[in-house]
Subunit: 216 residues, 2 copies
DNA sequence: CATGCGCTTTTGTGATCACAAATGAACGCG
DNA sequence: CGCGTTCATTTGTGATCACAAAAGCGCATG
């Protein structure tokens, strides 16, 4: 019986490493909308050949994190207002369901973790750090949704986050306010009270609040 | 002013052609769950080298249409009952919204088209042809949802269909009944009456009906 | 007959190269 | 000075190859 205690891959696949790093940067808004990328540039940046760069790009294009022109040029997507509205509606649909499924499993330790993350969110807002804000905000939501035990739904939600990443940065760049996140507190309060309708409303409000900045 | 009337690509990209054909086969349930594929096999089947085969597979894996073992082996996914429930819930969430958005734009010509498609669905059911049933059933839904003018949502819905494709065939293989699609008639009736709550209920019922076969 | 071992084959990964199309800049013409 | 043309450069695509790991298979052993 040769049971190796560590079946972890000692050599992480190159294309996967490139994919993961690019994905994180895009989701957190590190790359502005419409920014052009090249396969050779990516390969050079991550010290790999064109092949893994192409595979990671292909994957990110499939997830909507990058877009390709009909001639194959790669760039972060430029979202129309209609598409942003759609993505926000998808967030509302999926994340309200995820929160609802997480509610019966949300015990006190989780709520405390959410409060700690929320403090980091408030800090990022105070420092006007858009990338930190996006990252901690998503961490808040993901931490809650992980409790729903619904990996397919969570993956869908993350895909939507990914598509909005570059635009989110540009959007929150206009954000003048330094308020701590209001709806996050409502979410936590609803979790504590076991109030499902309140939770659904709070999540929906939090997810669609960014849309108001578009109207201006 | 050199405006070419046909900017269509005369040489369709190889990887895209392979991707599209594989995607269609998977979505329609042409490939059973757990079926193994190889890059060289795909390349040989579509008369391309490994490179386009790899890219199309990478894309399909990103969409959940195929799954890869940790050693890179490719196969259609074997869905657990929990995952099927999740995907059905996602269908319900997204497609109810799509139908709701399509309702105000649904005029008579659309309803007639839906009835024609529905006749083909009934024919497929009568012939016990699972693949035809899946194809025409999805055509029914897609035709309705296209009216919603919500491409991001439709893409999400199609991704869910894609993930369920192989399993759908196995599921409907157990279907003994030869009834014409009942809920499709309800959908059409609700569209005709402009009855939004009725439409939402009918779509939700149609989308989740397949789950009952799992309980048995 | 079941099981563990070793070998052959299969398979995915990544690098490199040739090629064609698109891009962009320099140039010249009106 | 504006604008179309031409050409060098950049860029994505697809094919091929070497390589290592995994899988499948047969054989010997208990």
């Amino acid at each position: 019986m040769n049971l190796t205690p560590r079946p972890v891959d000692p050599t992480p696949l190159a294309h996967d490493r490139v994919y993961r790093q690019l994905r994180t940067r895009i989701m957190h808004g590190d790359i502005p909308p419409g920014h052009a990328l090249t396969l050779r540039g990516i390969g050079k940046e991550y010290d790999v050949s064109m092949t893994p760069a192409r595979e990671s790009v292909r994957r990110l294009v499939a997830e909507g994190a990058l877009s390709m022109s009909n001639s194959g040029r790669i760039s972060t997507p430029l979202l129309s207002n209609e598409r942003i509205e759609e993505l926000a509606a998808l967030r509302a649909l999926i994340e309200v369901e995820l929160a609802s499924r997480a509610l019966p499993r949300a015990h006190l330790a989780l709520i405390e973790r959410l409060q700690n993350i929320n403090a980091k969110v408030a800090e990022a807002v105070a420092h006007r750090d858009a990338v930190s804000y996006i990252r901690t905000n998503l961490e808040f939501h993901r931490t809650l949704y992980l409790r729903a035990q619904a990996p397919a739904m969570l993956a869908m939600a993350e895909t939507v986050w990914l598509q909005m990443g570059p635009t989110m940065n540009a959007l929150y760049g206009r954000l003048r306010r330094t308020d701590p996140p209001h709806f996050h507190r409502l979410i936590i309060a609803a979790l504590r009270a076991g109030d499902e309708p309140g939770l659904r409303l709070a999540v929906r409000s939090d997810v669609t609040q960014g849309l108001r900045m578009l109207a201006s």
